[in-house]
Point group: C2
Chain length 307, copies 2
Amino acid sequence: MAITVVGSVAFDSIETPAGRRERCLGGAATYFSLAASFFTDVRVIAVVGEDFGAAEQAVFDKRGIDTRGIERAQGKSFFWEGSYLENLNEAKTHNTELNVFGAFQPKIPDAYRDSEFLFLANIDPVLQRRVREAMPQVKLVAGDTMNYWIKDHRPALLEVLRGLDILLINDTETKMLAGNNNLVKAARAVLDLGPRMLVVKHGEYGATAFYGHSKDTISAKTFRAPALPLEEVVDPTGAGDSFAGGFFGYLASQKELTPGAFRRAMFYGSVMGSFAVERFGTERTQGLTREEIDQRFEQFRELTHLD
Amino acid sequence: MAITVVGSVAFDSIETPAGRRERCLGGAATYFSLAASFFTDVRVIAVVGEDFGAAEQAVFDKRGIDTRGIERAQGKSFFWEGSYLENLNEAKTHNTELNVFGAFQPKIPDAYRDSEFLFLANIDPVLQRRVREAMPQVKLVAGDTMNYWIKDHRPALLEVLRGLDILLINDTETKMLAGNNNLVKAARAVLDLGPRMLVVKHGEYGATAFYGHSKDTISAKTFRAPALPLEEVVDPTGAGDSFAGGFFGYLASQKELTPGAFRRAMFYGSVMGSFAVERFGTERTQGLTREEIDQRFEQFRELTHLD
């Protein structure tokens, strides 16, 4: 089943202990759609500027991603500059230029309207909600957000959460959203806000899915996928969006959303996140094959398999 | 097979967001031996003062732990006071009184000499080495250490590492010992120092075992056990020592040390760590049953089981 994703397509200048790259192709919708494209059809809604050229377009085309929903506007694309020099787990932002993204009004091509899966990447919750409402036919809606929206745009965000099936955020965002420092209690509080499933991304330690409500300390309704201990993390940018793309892309490829499908989706999320960080920007992901992905899936299975 | 453990038996005054306890029974050898006692025979080498009374002795006796190697000295037992008010993952030490532990000279009872497993809990590496050399017959030796010994007693520690089969330390200690901030590279460097296996404890995110040497980024010789997302962490004190006790205790209970036995041992380590933090001090562990332990083991399996 096809996924429509709305979010940023951007240029990033990134410095990490492994080096520096100027103006890589980036943005949450880019990372998400590249990762998801190995599993299912993906359609992107975004806005770019005149600096988005043939080379950038080719990255999407090569993966068969539908970009008819990427609007070309006058001006420059969203630009982010950041570094991970002291801590590979947390970006330090040096510069953010919204550019054409500042006036982004998502337009949904008619050809996207039969999408059964919708992913609301990390953008203004007002826009997330508008896209959600414009696509009432979708079967499963997942989304992401960040500390900025949690802190300063809470009412709009809460409206989005009420319409979400799955929320994918990290530990800090979960605790901030719930106002509780215990992850399990915070997860339960977030589930009370609307999502039927919360996937908490732990960076180098994997991710945990919480679903359903339970008073038990140890709920069977928890699933944890590991991350792969990686010898070289070249660039963490896009790891979370790549996780989301692998997770949601795999789900969209399944005939039935069984508990087993969600578990495997968590592993495929971790797999796509682990590839993303091995090179700068989208370099690693854009050149992958499904065979490499499934090989790594087996390595993840082996990493935690008991028997 | 019996385990001999050498380490501290102490009193701890602990403050956490859940409350405060004065002078709980504590110490690495205490937590380790209680956890291991559910799997195999355990023999302790330590020193205590006159404040170690019938109530404390009963905690060991109830679990059938051999305490003939716990020397009674004049003076007070080792005492530690700490809090976890800002961060449940890291203790803030307010006071440490070595007391009788300052002059500790481990004495090995003859009845311990047929032990086939030896655990060197976190004490002065000079003492760890002395015990190791006095028990040449043991089949498997594991040990722990901490930042203090890594920083200021490196030569003595390196001698201990050369005689270890398994080292169990946390992320920070691994990176500090190796002088490398990448966990996989640091783990390889630590394996070059002697241990055949390194178990890195990640606190609330579980633990990873590294073993063998491999140039592959993704080595099949890595195994990751999850931690259980816990709704209530009352007191993190002793979680790492309880992990070690569950891990090593389970190994000692096995006829053959197969790869599967090591994997299950990692899970039993996580299980014992998860119980330890549910109440203050040793309260939770001392009252456990093997049935409860195996139930939780199954919950851990369910938490990460793919198929």
